[in-house]
């Protein structure tokens, strides 16, 4: 399937995947994150159970200390 991940087209083998699996495959290991699927905020607890489908838009944003 092909999705838009952080404004870039990304292709993954196979069908729908959980957000947690995509984060694992793309090595997103940050503790503080904002995750939006098709514009909707997804809570940490739902990363494993929320499926991303072909054509979806996923934004994974790191939050880093310093201000």
């Amino acid at each position: 399937m092909t999705i838009t991940l952080n404004n870039r087209k990304e292709t993954f083998h196979g069908g729908p995947m959980s957000i947690a699996r995509i984060m694992e495959e793309k090595s997103f290991h940050f503790k503080m994150l904002i995750v939006k699927l098709n514009g909707k905020i997804i809570s940490k607890e739902a990363f494993a159970s929320t499926l991303v489908n072909d054509g979806d838009r996923l934004d994974i944003i790191h939050l880093i200390s310093g201000g």
Binding site: I64, G66, G67
Partner: protein, 199 residues
Amino acid sequence: MTVKENISTLLAEKCVGIAGAGGLGSNVAAALVRSGVGHLVIADHDTVSRGNLDRQFYFSDQKGHPKVYALQENLQRINSATRLTLFYGRVTTGNARQLFSGCHVVVEAFDMAPEKEWFALWMTENLPHIPLVMGSGIAGWGLSEKIRVQRSGNLYICGHQLETNEKEVPLMAPGVGLVAMIQADIVLEILLIKNDPSL
């Protein structure tokens, strides 16, 4: 009216919230006052310390003063006509709505990532119509070409987004200033383009 006059008129009517008055917030505030934004709401719980003077918009004779009041002094020296609403205390889920619901744009300028996270989630859930301009990844030097803006709906994240160890990669004035100026620039873009697409 000239383009510059048109911009001044538009910005004079705008209100921008700034959550945190450290390296990002104090410098964003100065840039917005210089740009002619009419009203700023600034919230911070901290006082000025010696270690802040390497990157924040404060002066050595302001050590120990609450940042919001020291910033008020400094901003008024730039333009005494700018309206400033100051809150000396922590931003919490209990007061965020009262502080920021009247703003046209809010700038997230907190120090720690967990604060950034709750504030972004809270804003997205409670005040989704207000654009939020965040800073993430400002430490180090030589990274100016890595600084970028990631946009997702009404959420704008500015910075290099590279995880750094603060003990080894300190916060330096140029990097902090760069991200602060990009945040301020995005605020102007939002305020001006949303109001007059011809600009």
